[in-house]
């Protein structure tokens, strides 16, 4: 299984906000253990979905030159749970950003209805800083994450061409 917890972006405004969706499916192995006979998406993975949405938003604003690391969960509250067949939507906004870190706020919706809030802090681990045991290349924004954004841009391009004939 690949560590990608969003299926695709549906909105992306550089440096400001991004929205992504995630369809919960029984093809996900862990749902058969969490819990047997009662599959529920773990809340930790919903947080991860927001972290990937917001993390790509933060990383893109710096041209993916920094390793953007989830450093702190400021707040994570859920009023509902998600099961196979549900679609989650992550709406993330940049609250603050500077060269050291970024703070984001976000809401999680299930099938169009709000079901939670996840506020995060990301730290920039600059590749220029020789932090011990960190690889030289950008180990956060690998191709699998960048593909999410290129897929979104391709789709927007196709829609725009279709609309303008």
């Amino acid at each position: 299984m690949r560590w990608i917890w969003i299926d695709g972006f549906v909105e992306f405004e550089s440096g400001r906000r991004a929205s992504a969706v995630k369809n919960v499916t029984l093809a996900e192995e862990h749902l058969h253990d969490h819990f047997p006979g009662f599959p529920v998406m773990p809340a930790t993975l919903i947080i991860e979905g927001m972290a990937q949405t917001a993390g790509i938003l933060v990383g893109e604003s710096k041209g993916f030159s920094e390793n953007v690391i989830l450093a702190k969960i400021r707040q994570a509250e859920f009023s509902d749970y998600a099961v196979p067949g549900d679609q989650l939507r992550y709406d993330a906004q940049v609250e603050s950003i500077d060269d050291r870190a970024a703070a984001t706020t976000g809401t999680v919706s299930k099938n169009g209805k709000p079901m939670g809030r996840v506020d995060l802090i990301f730290s920039h681990v600059n590749q220029a800083e020789k932090v011990q045991d960190l690889p030289d290349h950008n180990f956060v924004f690998t191709d699998q994450f960048l593909t999410l954004l290129s897929n979104f841009r391709r789709r927007i391009g196709e829609e725009s061409r279709a609309a303008h004939g």
């Binding site: 450093a71 400021r74 050291r100 870190a101 802090i121 730290s123």
Partner: protein, 130 residues
């Protein structure tokens, strides 16, 4: 008009209870962020972001929580801040109370300089300058 010291304190208290998950009663003026309130390194960035938002101020890197003194060999010797280092630190942190630290300026006691009062002093100065 600049807010009163009580108003600044009350907002700082809110920022710290939210950022550190502590109770408002624990956030006394003398409480140290790390020792008493359990702040970790990333919390300092969180606090900076929250202060910027709460008071509509901009906090440049290293102004509230200077980090270059400890990394400078000229300022640290045998885990103690040198006299040059102390002068530099005081100049960088006019908002901190050095009276206790000065007596034994060991690096391990440095976090004690960052109290709730240190933040209130800093924000007050910042708001007056605005």
């Amino acid at each position: 008009m600049a807010p009163s010291r009580d108003e600044v304190f009350s907002k700082v208290q809110d920022v710290l209870t939210d950022a550190l998950g502590v109770d408002a009663e624990e956030v006394t003026p003398e409480a140290t962020l790390q020792g008493d309130l359990g702040a970790e390194s990333i919390d300092f960035l969180d606090i900076v972001f929250r202060l910027e938002k709460a008071f509509s101020i901009k906090i440049p890197k290293g102004e509230l929580f200077p980090d270059d003194v400890m990394n400078n060999p000229e300022y640290v010797e045998n885990n103690r801040i040198t006299s040059t280092g102390l002068v530099r630190l005081k100049a960088m942190m006019p908002h901190a109370d050095f009276s206790a630290f000065e007596k034994e300026p060991v690096v391990s006691k440095m976090p004690d300089l960052f109290t709730v009062k240190t933040i209130v002093n800093y924000v007050e100065t910042k708001l007056k300058a605005a």
